[in-house]
């Protein structure tokens, strides 16, 4: 049984069908004029052999102007699966995504460099020293493998988290360019039984992580049937460029047939037009070019239409995920992907502030609600992320989970049908005939059925706002709850066959 996700009955859309078609046409025009610049030779050869016009660009870096005719794009799109399955160590955590079905799966990530520790020191009132309060204090530091294990562990227990993208970049002294991939894959997979998606630090490690996944899934064929890992690559750099190394990684992952996200993240105002029509036409061209390349490499490779459009901040020209337009752009992309019938990878919940607080709650909740309502299949909703993807706070992830539970509840379908209304008429007549005129007794059968939403889970007793402290308690509770690790035998084989995994991650040997 796959996970249920949130099925959005009538997804919120901003564009009319005609507007989507206009964007499609504009994207097709962009792909032939100006086309893309590719810094990757192999991509150029593949596209050229299928009918793209290619021309070398003179200069220091080897690059080519590639013009992809509409026909090439459309026929490649035909071979892209309309249903993508993302497997999981625990098969109950499988995700099945149909491009035409707005069922939303909520995924964590993506990697941040900074991990926020939380503490609650006591402060004393200067004028009245008998008065004390506890105030949350957030302390940033560089993320470690240990943190990654903790985050994967807690996310295993967060009910609304459907899949895991690692939330923190591991920067321990003994982590190198070469062993980073195997360690991040192992730490995540060993502490979390949900689907795991990741980017690759080094292409050299691709076969090692695929082998690790095979060992866990039970063999090559088993991994094909139950792809417990998938990849994400930003092969496109906006505007309209295929980057050399990520394109190479992308091609190699496609060859292995594992699911992959083609993602583009243009910044409106700097690397894409700030106007909605412009950024949509461009991002769509970028993603379609990537999907086309992937399908030409290996027809039928499961791909997600990955869109991470964001608006620039006017004060710094950095990303502003909290801006309202960012949500508008994301929602448009969801609709465009649905037009092609390809499952969409979308983004919400990333916020601008550096610590949890009012701004982070408001910004993330705003985008979480509206983007979920648009019905993306794979919503990278940034559990716990702050400072535009630079900071991760586990406490915030616990809060986000609770808020998504509210969104899930809100999006449930109403029950209004003849039998229900007949029952209600009976109830109304019965109560109208009583002296007290209260419906309270009819609440009872629903109280424990999950049909009534709960009070805010981190509501305190008194006048004080105890949300952070209560969420922190919850976080500790979840950390104390065990997770199902990879079994001893498989762990031994992984450590035997795959070089570079830190011995301290072997829970059966390290004594921890």
């Amino acid at each position: 049984m796959p996970r249920k996700g949130i099925l959005v009955d009538r997804p919120y859309e901003r564009l009319t069908r005609e507007q989507v078609e206009l964007i499609h046409q504009a994207s097709m025009q962009i792909l032939t004029d100006p086309g893309l610049i590719s810094f990757n030779r192999e991509a150029v050869d593949i596209l050229h052999s299928h009918g793209a016009a290619v021309e070398s660009i003179p200069g220091d870096h080897q690059s080519w102007q590639v013009k992809i005719p509409e026909q090439v794009v459309l026929s490649a799109m035909n071979s892209a699966p309309k249903t993508v399955k993302l497997g999981a160590r625990n098969p109950d955590n499988t995700l099945i995504m149909h491009g035409d079905e707005p069922r939303v799966y909520l995924i964590t990530g993506s990697e941040t460099n900074i991990w926020l520790d939380v503490d609650f020191p006591t402060y004393v009132n200067k004028t009245d020293p008998t008065r004390e309060i506890r105030v949350p204090e957030f302390k940033p530091r560089r993320g470690t493998v240990d943190d990654l294990c903790q985050s994967a562990h807690v996310c295993e227990h967060l009910e609304m988290v459907d899949g895991y993208i690692r939330t923190v970049n591991i920067q321990d002294r003994d982590i190198t360019e070469d062993n980073k991939d195997v360690n991040k894959f192992f730490a995540s997979l060993n502490n979390n039984t949900k689907h795991f998606m990741s980017g690759l630090t080094s292409l050299k490690q691709l076969d090692n992580v695929v082998r690790m996944a095979e060992l866990i899934a039970g063999g090559k064929k088993a991994l094909e049937d139950n792809p417990i890992i998938s990849f994400i690559t930003c092969l496109v750099k906006s505007p309209l460029q295929f980057v050399d190394d990520t394109t190479e990684t992308f091609i190699e992952v496609c060859r292995r047939g594992l699911p992959i996200v083609v993602s583009s993240s243009p910044q409106a105002g700097t690397t894409a037009p700030i106007k909605e029509a412009g950024i949509m036409a461009q991002i769509n061209a970028e993603v379609l070019a990537g999907i086309t390349l992937g399908q030409l490499v290996n027809p039928g490779t499961p791909v997600l239409y990955g869109s991470v459009p964001v608006r620039a901040r006017m004060d710094t020209l950095g990303d502003s995920y909290g801006s309202v337009e960012t949500s508008q752009y994301n929602i448009d992309c969801v609709q465009i992907a649905r037009f092609y019938g390809i499952p969409n990878y979308s983004t919400s919940g990333v916020c601008d502030p550096k610590i949890p607080g009012q701004q982070s709650s408001i910004e993330r909740l705003f985008s979480d609600i509206v983007v979920t309502m648009s019905g993306p299949q794979f919503l990278h909703c940034a559990f716990g992320l702050l400072d535009c993807n630079s900071v991760f706070c586990l406490l915030q992830a616990v809060l986000d989970d609770a808020h998504f539970k509210m969104i899930e509840f809100f999006l449930r379908q109403p029950r209004v049908d003849q039998p229900e209304l007949e029952t209600m008429l009976k109830q109304i007549r019965e109560v109208a005939a009583t002296p007290q005129k209260l419906y309270i007794s009819y609440i009872r059968p629903l109280l424990r059925s999950g049909e009534i939403s709960g009070v805010y889970p981190f509501e305190g007793d008194g006048e004080a706002d105890d949300v952070f402290e209560l969420a922190y308690e919850r976080m500790k509770e979840l950390l104390a709850r065990p997770v199902e690790h990879i079994d001893r035998e498989t762990t031994a084989r992984i450590f035997e066959e795959i070089p570079g995994i830190l011995p301290r991650l072997n829970i059966y040997e390290s004594g921890s």
């Binding site: 002296p435 209260l438 309270i440 007794s441």
Partner: protein, 230 residues
């Protein structure tokens, strides 16, 4: 599952089932006798009134209270149980004299003139009935004169006044004054409540007690009651 009638009464109070048609808490109870049917049966088979009340009804209500404290029961559950006890007490009332059980006493409740808010007062009434009191509810928008007349005729031990508006809250003082003028004030303990009412306000108008919610309403009435008995 308990077999004897008293245990069944207790169990059905916990389930909050007034009659055999009620669903209760657990699955599959509809059709089995509820508290009213069981109390009739207990009376017919000559069980002691004292056991029915203390072991069956109060015993059940105590467990409900514990479940509520532990967060397992919600207010609607509590009210359902209280309703079951209230219905049982109505059946038992004629038998109380000579049973060795002192009736807990009668309480008249009313929401004051020009105030239509009655949800809180109704909840208080249900809970008081559940605690074993005989409750006469005069309703809402009740004239001061009607309240005074009821006190004179019914001779209740308690009068519960509810107001949700600051304007009608002021009338509570008028009720007390009029009871005094009619020489009735000493016969009755007066408790007041409703959102705008406070402990201080209750004191300032010379009321005997104040309850911030339904549970406090019972607590304050019980405290005053033990004062009367002593």
């Amino acid at each position: 599952m308990p077999e004897d009638t008293i245990s069944l009464i207790q169990e059905n109070v916990i389930q909050g089932r007034v009659t055999r048609d009620d669903e209760g808490m657990d699955e599959g109870m509809v059709g089995q006798p509820g508290v009213t049917e069981l109390v009739e049966k207990a009376l017919a088979s000559g069980l002691s009134i004292k056991d029915i009340i203390t072991k069956g009804l109060s015993g059940g209500m105590n467990i409900v209270g514990q479940k509520f404290e532990a967060g397992k029961y919600f207010i609607p559950d509590m009210l359902a149980s209280a309703q079951a006890v209230g219905a049982a007490m109505e059946i038992l009332e004629p038998y109380l004299a000579g049973s060795g059980i002192n009736a807990k006493g009668k309480i008249i409740v009313a929401t004051l003139k020009d105030d239509l808010h009655d949800i809180g007062k109704n909840i208080v009434s249900i809970l008081l009935r559940g605690a074993g009191y005989t409750v006469k509810d005069l309703g809402n928008n009740v004239d001061i004169q009607v309240i005074v007349d009821a006190v004179r005729e019914e001779k209740p031990q308690f009068l519960g006044l509810s107001a949700l508006l600051t304007s009608t809250m002021a009338r509570m003082a008028d009720v007390i004054q009029m009871l005094e003028e009619n020489g009735l004030r000493d016969q009755v303990k007066i408790v007041v409540g409703g959102a705008p009412v406070s402990e201080e306000f209750a004191k300032s108008i010379g009321a005997d007690g104040y309850g911030a919610d339904g549970f406090q309403a019972i607590a304050v009435v019980e405290a005053l009651n033990s004062g009367i008995e002593n």
